[in-house]
């Protein structure tokens, strides 16, 4: 795929538009419009899907066939040996479990903290809450990549170096999460809170009993996003972890890439295995991700 290939459809767009002039004659024009639009869409979809497809098909080839010419799209002798070698070698299964553990814990904490903060920001009117809201905004301006060295020192001073806690805790506060919950709770009518207050409910139990159950869809959306961010995290775990038994999947894959001679069979297998959880989660919860109003999302 070259840049010219990618640019061409942009030029093709006006051409496609010129051909149909009468919007009202939908019956006859329907097919005439559908064909170019669908063709263009699917050419692009193929360009986008092909790299992944080629990658996955290659990973099914036996190690000896990976570089045999002529290249074939579909493996002649499909095998899972690449995956098995990857899974067994170099602690990869351990990395996988580590990553899953870190992701699940971080996600639960992120959703909980964001839900509480978002609710407070939406439903209470205190000056210091507004100040804190600006503070959260500030975290998007000064991303963690810019503070790598000092953040590393802080976590080391807290005694969290080379521990999962050191990866998990700094990732819990996310501006995106707080925004998502704040936006959602703004849409919940205040009368609901007022009515509960009149009934004598205490503030925190209003939150826990009424608001938390209401926000379930947002929780799920943020959980999926958070899981994706943490699963794909690379630089922070790389800095934090020293003990190979605690490595995450991404570090494991990168260490195969960084080797003197890349073992492509293992690398392809390991990469495909690392993709599986996210793709499964995505396919199951697709509508939450696709419908998510992530316009407020700024930073992971």
């Amino acid at each position: 795929m070259t840049t010219t290939d990618m640019a061409r459809p942009v030029d093709a767009d006006p051409g496609r538009s010129v051909s149909k002039k009468r919007p009202r004659s939908a019956g006859g024009g329907g097919l005439r419009r559908a064909v170019p639009a669908t063709t263009l869409l699917w050419i692009l979809a193929c360009l986008y899907g092909l790299p992944v497809l080629w990658f996955i098909l290659s990973s099914l080839k036996p190690a000896g066939d990976l570089f045999s010419y002529p290249l074939t799209l579909v493996p002649h002798h499909p095998t899972l040996s690449g995956y098995l070698t990857a899974w067994r070698s170099a602690n990869f299964s351990q990395y996988f479990i580590n990553t899953a553990l870190v992701c699940v814990i971080t996600t639960i904490l992120t959703v909980g903290a964001s839900c509480c903060t978002g609710y407070a920001l939406a439903k209470y009117d205190n000056k210091w809450l507004k100040v804190f809201f600006i503070c959260i905004l500030a975290t998007t301006m000064l991303p963690s990549e810019v503070m790598l060295a000092p953040e590393f020192l802080v976590v080391r001073n807290l005694g969290l170096y080379n521990s999962f806690t050191g990866i998990i805790l700094p990732a819990v506060l996310t501006a995106t999460g707080c925004f998502m919950f704040r936006q959602f709770f703004l849409t919940v009518p205040d009368e609901l809170v007022e009515a509960a207050r009149i009934d004598g409910a205490r503030e925190l139990s209003i939150f826990a009993r009424i608001m938390v159950p209401l926000s379930r869809p947002i929780m799920l959306t943020l959980a999926i996003l958070s899981f994706q961010w943490r699963w794909n995290d690379y630089i922070w775990p790389l800095l934090m972890l020293n003990d190979p038994n605690k490595f995450t999947v991404q570090i494991g894959i990168q260490s195969i890439v960084g080797a003197q001679n890349i073992n492509w069979s293992v690398l392809l297998g390991a990469s495909v295995i690392s993709m599986i959880p996210l793709i499964v989660i995505f396919l199951v919860f697709q509508r939450y991700v696709m419908g998510a109003d992530i316009n407020a999302g700024l930073k992971d």
């Binding site: 990618m6 149909k20 992944v52 810019v146 503070m147 991404q250």
Partner: protein, 303 residues
């Protein structure tokens, strides 16, 4: 957004006193995290940027030495210009692709949009590390699919890895490919929010689809375009894992980017003070980008 917040919670002042504890409890966790992992590092980072701290032991204040050294350091300049070049290439390409795709996905004429949407979105799920591996596999000079196809059509193998500019181009394509899903989702939401009546009125006036796109869609989605450009610019300025796994800043050190430079000086050479200074330069650039874009956006909206 802010307007609404004040409307929503206009509770009488005498009641407010009783609602101090609850919101405080609710935000406590994030306040602590904010102080620990944002304020504290930001402060010590700023302090260390004026010192020769190496990460261990004593250190001395060296004033603005780190900053002045930085501007005499050619590898910092190279990293900076390479990062800017990458950003300038990536942001427009990603913008054009995701806008085009979003438009086609909301078009009622195209068939199979729900499946196609998943196809466009999957790359966004992959980690930058895996995206890098995947494109390295595609663009391998001796074994890659792309060079195989090029040779099949009678061309010569293209040095995707050993030519610095081509290798940057591969990263630009990989990043655009990987980030389309997210930008596309934002655009789809924005395009769907444009009132249909605008298009109907324009169609009655004889405006073709291209004309409608230029005169209605583009202005209506301007706020989203702004967010997409801003987010992508900031993300591009901070790019690191994709480069590491795709070509490790290669060939040689020609494609080392800013974050990689910070990582190397800070953690491989132990010059925390110097790396902190570089971080603050990066932060100033990011803030400048955000502020310039905010001003431009405001000017466009007021017009």
């Amino acid at each position: 957004m802010t307007k609404r917040a004040s409307d929503v919670s206009a509770s009488p002042p005498r009641r407010r006193r009783s609602y101090t504890i609850a919101p405080l409890v609710l935000i406590a966790a994030n306040v602590v995290l904010f102080a620990l992992f944002f304020v504290w590092p930001a402060v010590i980072g700023l302090v260390y940027s004026f010192t020769n701290y190496t990460g261990v032991g004593a250190f001395q204040f060296v004033g603005l030495d780190n900053y002045s050294n930085l501007f005499g350091d050619s590898s910092f300049y190279d990293a900076l210009t390479r990062t800017l070049l990458y950003t300038v290439l990536f942001v427009p390409l990603n913008f054009a692709l995701s806008l085009l795709i979003a438009n086609m996905l909301v078009s009622k004429h195209a068939k199979g949009t729900s499946v196609a949407r998943v196809v466009f979105f999957i790359p966004w799920l992959l980690s930058p590390i895996v995206v890098g591996v995947l494109w390295r596999w595609l663009f391998g000079e001796n074994f890659g699919l792309v060079n195989y196809v090029v040779e099949k059509f009678g061309g010569h193998a293209i040095p995707w890895q050993s030519n610095a500019d081509l290798s940057l181009l591969v990263v630009v394509m990989a990043a655009s490919w990987a980030w389309t899903g997210f930008s596309m989702l934002l655009f789809i939401a924005a395009i769907k929010n444009v009132p249909v009546s605008y298009y109907e009125a324009a169609a009655l006036d004889g405006a073709g689809p291209w004309r409608q796109f230029i005169s209605i869609t583009l202005p209506s989605i301007a706020p989203t375009s702004f967010i997409v450009i801003l987010l992508n610019t900031i993300n591009a300025m901070k790019e690191y894992p994709l480069f590491v796994s795709l070509n490790n800043g290669g060939p040689g050190t020609s494609n080392n980017l800013l974050v990689q430079y910070i990582y190397q000086t800070g953690f491989q050479r132990g010059q925390i003070g110097y790396a902190s200074a570089a971080s603050f330069v990066l932060m100033l650039i990011l803030m400048a980008v955000a502020i310039i874009q905010l001003i431009v956006n405001r000017r466009v909206e007021n017009r």
